[in-house]
Amino acid sequence: MAGRVVAVVGWHAQAYRRMWFGTMTVTFLNPIFFLLAMGVMLGTLVDRSNPDLDGLSYLEFVAPALLATTAMQTAASVTTFPVRAGLKWWRTYHAVVATPVRVHELVTGVVAWAGVRVGVAVTVFALVAAVAGAFVSPLAVLAPFAALLCGLAFAAVIAALSAWMKSDQYLAATYRFGLVPLFLFSGTFFPISQLPAWLEPLAWATPLWHGVELCRDLATGDVAAGATALHVGYLVVLVLVGLAIAVRGCGRELER
């Protein structure tokens, strides 16, 4: 079992060796651009004494959130188009399940590979953010792990969406109506307390908010056991549920 999951991860790593350069902008540069534009530049316009910021500078407020969004974006880049290609366009997943590898091992391997990519991306981003002075607490060393968990949750859920979507057009919809609104409204650039009261509960339900909160609590040292357990529990459940649904969806396609 484990060996076959590792083989699936190794397959992706082998392919990535030839295309890593092309993914550099999305994986590393874009998050750093956001950090500079929002955290540093826009941040100069933000009044630090605003009570919603809890005494943080805007850079300190936004950087941990960008750590979580980086995880989300990287996870999506591994589990949107590549999953559709494996199932439908290039049908490489069909070749994989003709070997002893089972569908759940394939899907677990794909999500694990997303985890590898997320891990590298958030580590690099965290180092840059640390150099920029965006983290105030030593607990920030744990923030990349929180971001990794957030990335795994997104990888599993988006893989499930990709496996079940009826047409490729839903890929664009996933970005436009899913990831972009989450990116903007999950407490990333402003606290969700500023949302209209009826929208706030919706934000609590979104996975990115939990990832953002987890990273921010660690980066600022404002960790409460109950809230942390809630965020971690929510994201772990998403990983497991997403995996289960993705396995069902891929199985429907691969084992008809």
């Binding site: 290039w90 003709a98 070997t99």
Partner: protein, 301 residues
């Protein structure tokens, strides 16, 4: 190697395979022939353990596909109808990565990769991009990939569809070599010459059922006459009634096909009636005649 009894595959309302029985022995080359939609690929996918059986029993390599899928697939090579090579990997990497899925150690994979690339005559393309290969080369690479874990049973779903004659013959040579090495081959095709060249035994499928079974020679002897006479008359003249001349007469739009033990005698009889067909062809009956006789001449799709 494979035993099926009452094997059935249903997709919602459609019955793709309707209670077929067959058995494949070790070392033989076994073919599924049939028009498109006859149920060949569904049968292959069930043998390959990637499609659950809807009814009947199936044993592959003595095991139950439902319970022992991975163990069966460990000893199986699959060449699918559509190439599904990884375009992001080069030729050699496609084999190496595939070997890992079978849990082969690195040194074994390295040795098999070299051997197989020699075998399918792609050794000089080892570092090439898959996209740069011709259709025939891609097929050969797909076959090499299927052989990476030295399977006892190789499943080939329409292995030469879409290839030019040179590429088809090159492929047949490779498959013949495998057969000589003792690999059991199971293939689907709608090329009769391919079936005649390669198959020891075959079944003809039509509308989800098996309609005939035997060696190519047996099927020809059993279902059609020894020779076929094809007469073509000009469209405007119509086809004159010649129903009494052979053992089996099929009248088509502007053509008549007469099956008889002695084709030349039929031609003489036609001339004796003062008829002058535009073209006259006397030939030995082939599997294609069997196929058309059993599955009909109507287009299926």
């Amino acid at each position: 190697m494979i035993e099926a009894q009452g094997l059935t595959k249903r997709y919602d309302e459609v019955v793709a395979v309707d209670g077929i029985d067959f058995a494949v022995e070790r070392g033989e080359t076994f073919g599924f022939l049939g028009p498109n939609g006859a149920g060949k690929s569904s049968t292959m996918r069930m043998i390959g353990t990637v499609s659950p059986v809807s009814g009947g029993t199936l044993r592959v390599l003595g095991r139950d596909p439902q319970a022992d899928g991975p163990a069966i697939r460990q000893r199986l090579g699959v060449v699918p109808q559509e190439d599904n090579l990884d375009l992001e990997l080069n030729v050699g990497e496609n084999l190496q990565v595939y070997g890992r899925f079978f849990g082969l150690p690195r040194d074994v994979i390295a040795r098999r990769t070299s051997e197989l690339l020699d075998f399918v005559q792609l050794a000089d393309r080892r570092d090439a991009k898959v996209d740069s290969l011709s259709g025939g080369m891609k097929r050969r690479l797909t076959i090499a990939r299927a052989l990476v874990a030295t399977p006892e049973l190789l499943l080939l779903d329409e292995p030469t569809t879409g290839l030019d004659p040179q590429a088809r013959h090159a492929l047949w040579d490779r498959l013949y070599r495998l057969k000589q090495e003792g690999v059991t081959l199971v293939l689907t095709t709608h090329y009769m010459d391919e079936a005649e060249q390669l198959c020891d035994r075959l079944v003809i499928m039509d509308r989800a059922k098996i309609v005939a079974e035997g060696s190519p020679r047996e099927l020809i002897d059993r279902h059609v006459e020894r020779e076929m006479v094809e007469l073509r008359f000009g469209t405007q003249n119509g086809v004159p009634p010649l129903g009494d001349l052979g053992d089996h007469v099929e009248v088509l739009q502007d053509r008549i096909v007469i099956g008889a033990a002695d084709g030349d005698a039929v031609v003489d009889a036609v001339h004796a009636r003062g008829l002058r067909p535009d073209t006259v062809l006397v030939r030995r009956a082939t599997l294609e005649d069997v196929f058309l006789r059993l599955t009909g001449r109507t287009l299926v799709d």
